[in-house]
């Protein structure tokens, strides 16, 4: 079985730095109001949107795995 595609895409994903989770970002609207607003959703028409989604999901799961491994190390 040719796994070169899988290897290549995994290597490419590993090279991408951590993308910020925009749903967690907050911003205030106006000078006086201190209401926290969720950040605008990224443009879904971007040709890279599916790739960004895939990278974010993979990084999210990787983060959970790393936390699990660290927790296991600490005992």
């Amino acid at each position: 079985m040719n796994t070169n595609v899988v290897r290549n895409i995994l290597a490419a994903y590993n090279r991408i730095p951590d993308l910020p989770d925009e749903t967690e970002m907050v911003q205030s609207k106006g000078l006086l109001s201190k209401t926290k607003m969720p950040a605008k959703k990224p443009n879904g028409n971007s040709p890279y949107a599916p790739l960004v989604d895939g990278v974010k999901q993979a990084q999210r799961i990787k983060k959970v795995r790393m936390e699990f491994l660290e927790g296991k190390k600490d005992g």
């Binding site: 290897r7 995994l10 599916p50 993979a58 799961i61």
Partner: protein, 169 residues
């Protein structure tokens, strides 16, 4: 002709089915990466799947191959397209790694560099090449005659006006 089997698909057999009757010929059920992962991840979290996955991991099957098979089966079932499937592969592999780590199983991701085995024929080739080179150098040294200093022609002295004078005189 010893092991020839007639029990194979006839060339073009795949084109005999009505167009659109196969799941992968119709529009995919999930068109985004998030939707496709929302289909996969809960299924991978089920106990039966995790148990079977751990068993397969213990046999040493690389996770890249497993993820590829899972993704292609999703394409065959018409769940998503190939390009969406390829983008989901890293997340699927991460999930499988998480399952493996939580079960305490050693697994191969498929990204490890294979250990290069030096074959005996390669060793022979290198050795014979080295011996040939050494022999060639020895023959060359033998064939090159030694030239005495007397046989060498005397250097021509510069005769111009601006030439440097002989300092020994």
């Amino acid at each position: 002709m010893d092991d020839f089997s007639f029990n194979r698909p006839i060339p073009g057999e795949s084109l005999t089915a009505e167009l659109g009757s196969r799941p992968w010929q119709s529009p995919p059920q999930f068109s985004t990466v998030d939707d496709a992962l929302a289909y996969y991840l809960p299924r991978m979290g089920q106990k039966n799947f995790a148990k079977g996955l751990v068993d397969v991991m213990e046999t040493g099957v690389p996770l890249t191959n497993l993820a590829n098979v899972i993704m292609l089966s999703g394409v065959m079932e018409g769940k998503h397209s190939v390009d969406v499937g390829i983008l989901t592969i890293p997340a699927i592999i991460e999930t499988m790694q998480l399952i493996g780590d939580s079960a305490g199983v050693k697994y191969t991701t498929g990204l490890e560099e294979p250990e290069e085995e030096v074959s005996s024929s390669k060793i022979k080739r290198v050795l014979s090449k080295q011996i040939e080179e050494e022999n060639g150098n020895a023959v060359q040294e033998e064939t090159v005659p030694m030239i005495s200093e007397e046989e060498l022609e005397p250097e021509e002295k510069p005769m111009g006006l601006m030439s440097r004078r002989d300092t020994n005189v």
